[in-house]
């Protein structure tokens, strides 16, 4: 009982007290991020000085690994909890600032291709997850949540859909756990497969953006491959995120017609409420850079600020992934999730390889 009361109580606290409560966790994220950068630089410095050929292991991987070790072997004290949860905030801040690394023309070109692939991916994923969920006899709303989570944008989409289709608490928890577990697996699997099939930075970035569900894991899976792949992955994922409202609205109308969810009154207001605002921020910064509101040095500073924000995010991804908690969830939803995600990964890889031949991504 005490565990459920504390977060609600913290919601009612004075804003300044809440803000101060975030500091320890943010400092922990920063410490992990800086340690990761230091390890990467130290290894690079040592191998260069001693003329040793050694693959560059990016700070991204170190940040996630340190976070995973701390999060799974040591119980992170409660005082750090609230601040660690801000990794989502740093992710979105980083995405908005990442707009500085794209000129509007690039966004229109890459975003246009990505959007086309995103439509195919969303349609395919929804059909696939629904078919698998039915074959395994899962509850209809759990099937919908898994389908929404795997087709659009992970945890945020599931939470947005949960209220709209009036799904059970238990179903939402199962679906979120499955998506988070699969996100953790994709951090290892995607860069490995990307290198194995010799994808270019751009092609890999589009693939990670299409197939990895949770935005934080998408950014990390992209950055683990290369810096360029990371930014393309985020752009592609942002296209998916932008469609969250439409997919959730479709399901909400379906369940409302069946009398199992509240009817949607104003559809435009519903779409605006569900629309991720950071997508607009990303576009605003990109437009400002395209209109040369910033000089070259300032653009570099914005890009570096974005990297710092992502560094905190990657530390949070590791800290947040708790294997013990994930393993407590049901086996069948997880099995459907795994099968669906593997098929979606294969389908999107085929799409990307095909698009690469046509548009030379």
């Amino acid at each position: 009982m005490a565990t459920t009361a504390s977060p609600i109580a913290s919601e009612r606290q004075n804003p300044l007290v809440r803000l101060a409560g975030l500091v320890p966790g943010i400092l922990l994220l920063a410490a992990i991020g800086l340690a990761a950068k230091w390890i990467e630089q130290s290894i690079n410095g040592y191998t260069k000085a001693h003329h040793i050929t050694f693959p560059n292991i990016e700070y991204v991987l170190w940040a996630i690994v340190i976070g995973l070790v701390i999060g799974n072997l040591v119980k992170v004290p409660e005082i750090f909890r609230a601040g660690v949860d801000t990794y989502e905030f740093w992710l979105k801040t980083g995405i908005v600032l990442l707009g500085s690394r794209f000129l509007l023309g690039d966004i229109l070109k890459l975003g246009g291709i990505s959007l086309l692939l995103v439509f195919i991916e969303i349609g395919g994923s929804l059909l696939l997850m629904t078919a698998l969920g039915r074959a395994f006899g899962l509850r209809p709303k759990l099937i919908n949540l898994l389908a929404i989570g795997s087709s659009v944008c992970g945890v945020s989409a599931i939470i947005a859909a949960k209220g709209a289709i009036d799904a059970d608490d238990e179903d939402a928890s199962f679906a979120i756990a499955a998506i988070l577990a699969l996100g953790a697996i994709s951090l290892v699997a995607f860069p490995f497969i990307g290198h194995a099939v010799h994808l270019s930075d751009h092609a890999y970035g589009v693939w990670a953006g299409l197939a990895v569900d949770n935005t934080a894991e998408t950014a990390a899976a992209g950055a683990l491959f290369s810096d360029t792949a990371g930014k393309i992955a985020v752009l592609t994922k942002t296209c998916r995120n932008a469609l969250i409202g439409f997919v959730v609205l479709g399901y909400a109308i379906y369940w409302a017609r069946k009398g199992q969810a509240e009817a949607i009154g104003n559809k435009a207001s519903f779409l605006w409420k569900k629309f991720p605002k950071f997508v607009l921020g990303f576009l605003v910064i990109s437009v400002a850079v395209s209109l040369q509101a910033f000089n070259a040095d300032q653009v570099k500073s914005l890009a570096n600020l974005s990297r710092w924000a992502f560094l905190l995010t990657f530390a949070g991804v590791g800290l947040r992934t708790n294997f013990r908690e994930l393993s407590k969830q049901g086996l069948r939803p997880f099995a459907v999730g795994v099968m669906g995600e593997v098929l979606i990964a294969v389908l999107t890889l085929g799409l990307v390889v095909g698009a690469n031949r046509v548009w030379a991504l």
């Binding site: 459920t4 977060p7 500085s100 921020g281 300032q298 407590k328």
Partner: protein, 44 residues
């Protein structure tokens, strides 16, 4: 277990929504600080 997880999720959902808007304002503020020279030569 599921209820406990979900109360936390609901709270986090509230935080997520506010974080979504806050992240845009903070990023725009940082961009303005860079634009007007308060933050200069941010290195990586």
């Amino acid at each position: 277990m599921a209820n406990e997880v979900d109360v936390k999720l609901a709270v986090r959902h509230g935080l997520r929504l506010s974080m979504d808007a806050w992240s845009v304002w903070v990023a725009v503020l940082l961009a303005l600080l860079v634009r007007f020279g308060v933050l200069q030569h941010v290195s990586w």
